[in-house]
């Protein structure tokens, strides 16, 4: 940082300050946004009938990089963890249920990392959404380029659990 030109550092400092002051949460999906409603929610060329539910804004950014997904998002803002005093009330769950029940949603994809807390959150949210729409969860398995032989037992077991018929 000390070796960089002064102007560059100034610009960076300003960008950091602006981010701190301007970035808040989208009022619809709770993704990070400088505007009241984020770009993804405003986009007209995205599918309105699919919602991908994630724990954190970082997950939205990761999924966007794939350019595979064209639907909308909902950021829960964490995972259920009674030990840390986080119950469903502390997360953006009721707003999600509201969205799914009021809008014309055909599928809710739960994209939450596999962990004890992640699985609990997935099961909980899944139960609440099931009366209104089709609920799916992303598959967990072997990384691309990963060799079956070198995969650890836990990942392999997960991958076996989530196997699909060859089409």
């Amino acid at each position: 940082m000390l070796k960089r030109p002064e102007l560059e550092v100034k610009a960076l400092a300003q960008a950091l300050m602006e981010a701190k002051l301007q970035v808040g949460h989208c009022s619809v999906c709770f993704h990070l946004s400088a505007d009241p409603v984020c770009e993804i929610c405003r986009a007209v060329n995205r599918e309105n009938q699919t919602i991908c539910v994630v724990a954190d804004s970082r997950d939205v950014i990761a999924l966007e990089k794939t350019r595979e997904y064209r639907g909308k998002y909902h950021v829960l803002g964490g995972l259920i963890s009674p030990m840390d005093g986080i119950g469903p009330e502390q997360l953006n769950i009721s707003s999600l249920v509201h969205r799914v029940s009021k809008e014309d949603i055909h599928e809710a994809i739960l994209a939450i990392s596999p962990s004890i807390e992640g699985d609990t959150t997935t099961l909980y949210v899944g139960q609440l959404l099931k009366p209104f729409t089709k609920v799916t969860r992303i598959a967990f398995g072997l990384p691309m380029g990963g060799d079956l032989e070198y995969a650890d037992e836990v990942t392999l077991a997960r991958a076996l659990e989530g196997r699909r018929e060859l089409d």
């Binding site: 009674p82 119950g87 609990t120 909980y124 139960q127 650890d152």
Partner: protein, 371 residues
């Protein structure tokens, strides 16, 4: 498997100590509190990632230091494994295997196998059920390293569920009930995995322990090991065990809401030992209990050897002096030169001369090991 070298840096009272093992048996001799057990503890950590003496890494790091390191060269049939475990004050450990930093520490397990036999184990029969659960869990982790992961997951679910039960009060909502049902399902899924594995390992261990027990007790006594899970164990289908688990949770639901803690699950299991149909805990003499523990430890050695395919190490911490001469000899006969054995003692006097001649003897004084 054979432990060739051990290098301790800032570990307990060792500043920087290299030890080379050059005989199947090594006797570490020295006064109390000089570091003999610390050395065995470092090997235990390489084998299980746990110490039976502490759960805090800062206890393992030398006073005033920020980190400590245990490194070892272990000869196995397929070649030499270089192992290193770096402990940090207030931060995560690093496990390194053959120069490669492991992403998950669980992958460290199963490289070095060891059976620990300390004077504390002599109380295994009489002590609380928690000690017996630790005993069977430690054995399982070495036989199937994935068990460490399952147990850790179970413990997380248990803690989360207990936290939720503590929040239970007059104003509990429907959301509370929904959440609890999900934690119940997770507890039952992971808990049944723990129960099934514990049951399986005890079934395999029992006949071996019985054979040893008969030999040591002079064909007079019959040992029985009975697993007493907190959830009735049905054979066969894992789904049945899970269902039995959920039923039992249902039965204890009201009690759990009053006591704010989880009352059902493998964290409440026990293991019963009986000799000639009488509970060893209540009726066994001290001698009988020692014979029993000795038989268990020898069975552990054999079982690990048959599963892993190589004889594990044996760590005898201050325990030989606690056994009478005939049990000592039986133990020594059983291990011979087959299992590399590290022994700590305060006096060489109680050892057989033939034994001393075939062993490497190291002096331990104030964190320094000398031949």
């Amino acid at each position: 498997m054979y432990l060739k070298t051990l290098h301790l840096k800032h570990f307990r009272n060792y500043s920087d100590q290299r030890v080379e093992f050059c005989a199947p048996k090594t006797i570490l001799v020295g006064d109390n509190a000089q570091g003999k057990s610390n050395l065995l503890e470092s090997v235990e950590l390489l084998a299980t990632l746990k110490s039976h003496r502490t759960s805090r890494d800062r206890d393992l790091i030398q006073d005033g230091e920020a980190w400590g390191q245990i490194s070892a060269a272990l000869e196995r049939e397929l070649g030499v494994a270089e192992m290193a475990l770096i402990l940090r004050n207030g931060s995560r450990r690093t496990a390194v295997l053959n120069g490669e930093k492991l992403r998950r520490q669980m992958d460290f397990l199963g490289t070095l196998n060891a059976v620990q036999f300390s004077s504390l184990d002599l109380d295994l029969v009489r002590s609380g059920p928690g000690e017996r659960r630790i005993w069977v869990d430690t054995l399982l982790m070495q036989l199937e390293p994935v068990y460490a992961y399952i147990l850790q997951q179970y413990t997380t679910v248990l803690k989360q569920r207990n936290a939720l039960l503590r929040q239970w009060g007059e104003n509990s909502t429907a959301s509370h009930t929904t959440q609890l049902a999900i934690w119940d399902a997770q507890l039952a899924t992971l808990g049944s995995r723990v129960i099934r594995r514990r049951s399986r390992v005890l079934k395999r261990l029992t006949p071996i322990a019985q054979t040893w027990h008969t030999a040591i007790s002079g064909h007079t006594e019959e040992l029985q090991i009975r697993y007493a899970p907190s959830v009735p164990l049905t054979e066969g289908d894992p789904a049945l065990v899970q269902q039995a688990f959920l039923d039992k949770i249902q039965q204890r639901a009201i009690a759990e809401q009053h006591q704010h803690t989880t009352l059902v699950g493998p964290h409440r299991d026990d293991i019963d030992f009986t000799i000639n149909d009488t509970p060893a805990r209540q009726y066994g003499s001290q001698g009988q209990q020692r014979t029993l523990v000795l038989a268990l430890k020898l069975a552990e050695l054999k079982l690990i050897e048959s599963v892993v395919g190589e004889p594990p190490l044996l760590l005898l911490d201050d325990v030989l002096a606690e056994l009478d001469l005939s049990r000592q000899n039986q133990l020594l006969d059983a291990i011979q030169d087959r299992y590399q054995t590290l022994i700590t003692t305060t006096h060489l006097g109680s050892f057989d001369a033939q034994w001393l001649n075939s062993s490497q003897i190291l002096q331990v004084k104030a964190g320094v090991v000398t031949p």
